[in-house]
Symmetry: none
Subunit: 244 residues, 4 copies
DNA sequence: TATGAATGAGTCTTCATTCAT
DNA sequence: CATGAATGAAGACTCATTCAT
């Protein structure tokens, strides 16, 4: 069991650890989590064993890289929170997350759950991020800057999605434009659709929605609760079900 | 020197090809593109050699799987185009792409360019998809159902982003709600932000935009063309630049 | 998970499996369980992957090698049992195990429990061997050819010890001579020591023995049961105990 | 170019050397010679470099550990020699070696030649041990306490074998009983077998023996010297030879 | 000087691809 | 032809040994 090294150690060790961390960050961003550890070592200018001494598993290296990056995000978010008006802080933070995620494409892999990579990783940092997001969102919603019917989980998903947009659109400015388009949907004066009549519910479970298309369902005080917004969706959902 | 088998061959060969294709589709969806070829073969109930007879490379198998899936999408899109009103057809198609991508998570990997997987893959089918999208978008825009200042590339990026949202939000209905929120931003009555005054330009290059925040820039007929919308953004961009 | 291959497969596969098995047997005998798998593969004239196909772990290869060797031993023992007189069969079998163990030195590692190698291995075959030994021993004891106060576990330990002797004494004949000297102690007319008055108890727990020197203790029907054969041994055992 | 430190150096260096030595002894006993050097260093509470300062190779550490342990044995043997009657001294010494080898299982690896570990190691100490053994054996034999037809090499092999027995039999008392059973074969009134007529030859080459079963061969002054004790053994040996 | 960080060759294992049956 | 066995180039990880602090 290799000894994991803390911050109080020898200066050269600390320097090496930092070199490895940043090399890994770059490598992951450029080539995905599959880059060989040897490449990272070479990029950092150290031997493979050194990487290993600091991060006893490739897994733990991934963990450390993202923990650091998320840590920086959280720090910047906390700074914003104390310095800006609630709404501004919230949107600024989300934009920060999205924008910086360009240089670490794989953040999706880490934050989203379908990642093939074992991900009970990062739990602590992710939890901190989530909490910060909740606080910021809550404040922004109380200030009237964000529609009240979205919850933290929605924001996380939107963020991941926006990061993906930025990645898909190679032009940074164009990508940001799309992101703004998307995030503007969060404002209370947001866009209006056929299925727009969201109930004013705080949190991530904004009341019953059509299981097929997601439209908000009118709640009747009596009768069997509706699952779909109409016959069309009921039929579609039926077709989707596997034959018994 | 395996002979690749076309559609005109013996029927059992065609059947095998289909079996492999569907097994690979499932496997990729469930476990990502990294699933070993042997597993796919086993799942398909054929030998590894048989997979190779039909697809000379793993790469080409990936290609074929997504070509087929995109092909189905394109077909459904074409059906929509001929049957529905332009705006409805456009949004229906995009929603289709997003919604079905849940069962093949990796569509991002294939459509987005930063995928670690070599992707000059699918060129043909992707081109067809792109063209269909262009046509649908154009029609919807002409019908006034979609704001005129977005181009096909924007739509692709939005689609990829929305697929990511669906993946990140495990609740399908909640995911769809976010997607609608996002796509509503495409409607002409879309949301309005400080940086909203998009110029009415078709295509993926909607005129000069702030390189930092994406806001549209007012073009002055004389003088040096602006790169940023203001001092704030200029300063930000400056900080982003690596030290010389 | 590589597919492990049974006996009913392709002939070349079977041949390769056999080649690997015998190469591994030789290699383990010559150089211990630590020989690199690559060396075994080279010795067998196959690729590393082939070894892997047949034995998904190095562990399982070790397992298979010893299972086979023990299997052969068991078979020969069973043959002896049906063909020879009990005492002859018993000694013949034990000598067989000891003598053949020269060509597979590491049998100790597998049969003895302190082997650093994970050894819940082989349980089935070892159990069979143990049972055969029990039957043979029992028959020989009933025939009066083996003193009645030893149990199967004693025989296993003696066997392991004798194998070690053979290994330590490079001259095969001289080694066998020592082994005979040792095994002769099993005969009813065996050697006589100060502590020789073993109780006539069958099995591996032949009644109370001095915890220090192993001499058989006289059992008194009353009083506190003795742990040592005398003051000398009690004192020695005391010195051995760690200070409190 | 680490300087090896002798016994005449600073006292803390000597203390460190001792700590490493004892830590290594424990580690080898518990986990075999394969225990990583780093673990030994940690167990000793020193840095890896310190281990290296005292023992320039892992090999030399092993050497030192066993040299020390054997040294202790030799010392105790010499004490016995001067204090006890010859026979008692001999058997006491051998039992000592066997019994203490329980706490350093790997003595077999060091004393027996097939050890995968390079062993021209301990030559000096082993030679001393060997010499002591020879003296003790000789005295015991002259005193009539040990049969005259065994040599020092036989004793070494018996000792190694008995140590293996102790290891194989987890119950210490039961193990000791087996050991006594075995060592009793060394007494002049030892057991008698079909192949028992050992010639009274001192040393490790006690005259011509059957190459197959080890029985002593009658030497005829004329004719071709016999290699086997009879037709049965000749046939067995023939079957053992590899096909040409 | 002692420490423990760095090194890199060597080991096991995987898997895309080829090829004998 | 289909099958699945063989191949061998990587990749993750270990650890004896060296060397900077």
């Amino acid at each position: 069991m290799a000894t994991v090294i803390g911050a109080g150690d020898r200066s050269d060790a600390r320097r090496n650890r930092a070199k490895v961390l940043s090399a890994a960050g770059e490598a992951f961003a450029e080539r995905g989590l599959d880059v060989p550890l040897g490449d990272i070592a070479r990029r950092a200018g150290v031997g493979a064993g050194t990487v290993y001494r600091h991060f006893p598993t490739k897994h733990s290296l991934v963990e450390a890289v993202f923990a650091q990056q998320l840590g920086e995000l959280v720090a910047s978010g906390e700074r914003r929170m104390s310095r800006s008006a609630p709404t501004e802080a919230f949107f600024g933070f989300v934009l920060d997350v999205i924008d910086t995620s360009r240089s670490r494409t794989t953040i999706c892999d880490v934050m989203s759950a379908d990642a093939s990579w074992p991900r009970p990783v990062l739990t602590a940092t992710v939890a901190r991020l989530h909490q910060l997001l909740t606080v910021l969102l809550d404040a922004a919603q109380r200030a009237g800057g964000v529609r009240p019917d979205v919850g933290p989980d929605d924001i996380v998903a939107l963020t991941v999605g926006c990061a993906a947009m930025m990645t898909a659109r190679h032009d940074r400015a164009a990508g940001l434009r799309l992101v703004r388009l998307t995030l503007d949907g969060l404002r209370p004066s947001g866009p209006v659709t056929e299925a727009r009549h969201f109930r004013d519910v705080r949190g991530s479970a904004p009341g019953p929605a059509c299981e097929e298309c997601g439209a908000v369902l009118t709640v009747h005080p009596t009768g069997r609760p509706a699952r779909y917004c109409g016959t069309t969706c009921r039929q579609r959902a039926h077709r989707r079900r596997p034959a018994p």
